[in-house]
Symmetry: C2
Subunit: 199 residues, 2 copies
Amino acid sequence: MGILERKIRHRQEVRDRILQAAWQLVELEGWSALSIRRIADAIEYSIPVIYSHFENKDAILLEFSREGFRRLAQHLQTARDEQDNPGQQLMAMAQAYWNFAFDNQEFYQLMFGLGIPACDTVKKVAEMKQFSDVIFPVLQQAIATSSHPETSHLLKFHTFWSILHGLVSIQMIGKDNATDPIQQLVLEDAIGGFIKALA
Amino acid sequence: MGILERKIRHRQEVRDRILQAAWQLVELEGWSALSIRRIADAIEYSIPVIYSHFENKDAILLEFSREGFRRLAQHLQTARDEQDNPGQQLMAMAQAYWNFAFDNQEFYQLMFGLGIPACDTVKKVAEMKQFSDVIFPVLQQAIATSSHPETSHLLKFHTFWSILHGLVSIQMIGKDNATDPIQQLVLEDAIGGFIKALA
DNA sequence: TTACTTTTTGTAACAGTGTTAACTAATATG
DNA sequence: CATATTAGTTAACACTGTTACAAAAAGTAA
């Protein structure tokens, strides 16, 4: 009775092709070129088929957003696991974050751009345990230096992330030279300074 | 022969009403509600009139972007002028930046969101002299501490801005509690820590 | 195989978008 | 007054997300 299984498999296949076709469109022509019709054309199905797999366009974007966070989380984790010292771990994660952002600009744009879905983005980041797990222990050493101890966990976490997100955003807005080596130095100094400030 | 003047005046008046109507729409219903048709309806003119004043919709957004930078620049300037000590100036500007972002979320979103126009945004920021003018002198004291002296101006400037933009962005993505007093403390600590790190 | 049911897929439309070509109405100039 | 210029409108094109409804295909039972 593999008939139902076959159906499910086929359905999953179509779903995958939708996402695949959508991603190809985004990669080739950017987010603005992503439309239900063009996806339908690409997968050679009619439009309502897409709506039988995703409630609406935002649901598709949300899917990509999730995938983006999955990938970023994995990058951070492997970067951390390659280091022992907490300070080096932080630096490695910063580098990984940075590289992810520019190697996957479409993802990053969707994930953190102030435009599109961004509803439960914060929860997603909170779920990136390997982010906070490494940061918090390092941060605890620095609590005493804060003028508002009760907020310092949150503070340091936000500061670290803010430096990263801010550097990336500002660099992205500038576009021209995403791989400019001088920016790598800026990143190194920024995170290095942050770590030194904690010590 | 004030006849030509009257025409020019009238033309300017229509132009202003376009921007005014557009802004009203954005304020009431957000950026997604802004459409040429709805502007045309609001000002009781036909659509092509709008195109005789602005090349396209992006040109209207760009106009708002410019206005946003004008306002931000002014806020920063007055914040700075109320302080003497460079450190206090930095902190005051950070507060002003923060307040501007949340008092004018639509502006900020347009100006720094990774979505919309953002072409010559960087130039706009570079034009905000009162930003760099205050930051750079303070930063020069800290050049020696950088491991890559040749990039440290850029570094510190980017770091300062990044902390601000990052904090604001992350806070905005969270939406819920933009005026949460705990976030004010986070801002204070973040910038305070930055200034201390420079000293 | 035939009749019926369910699931899958397609057609066609609605309401909206940015944009522009072509036309008309109003105004200023000779 | 006729003429040239400007101001403004109508109507369309080519899109967008979304959905109601019909048709076709596939599975099930007699």
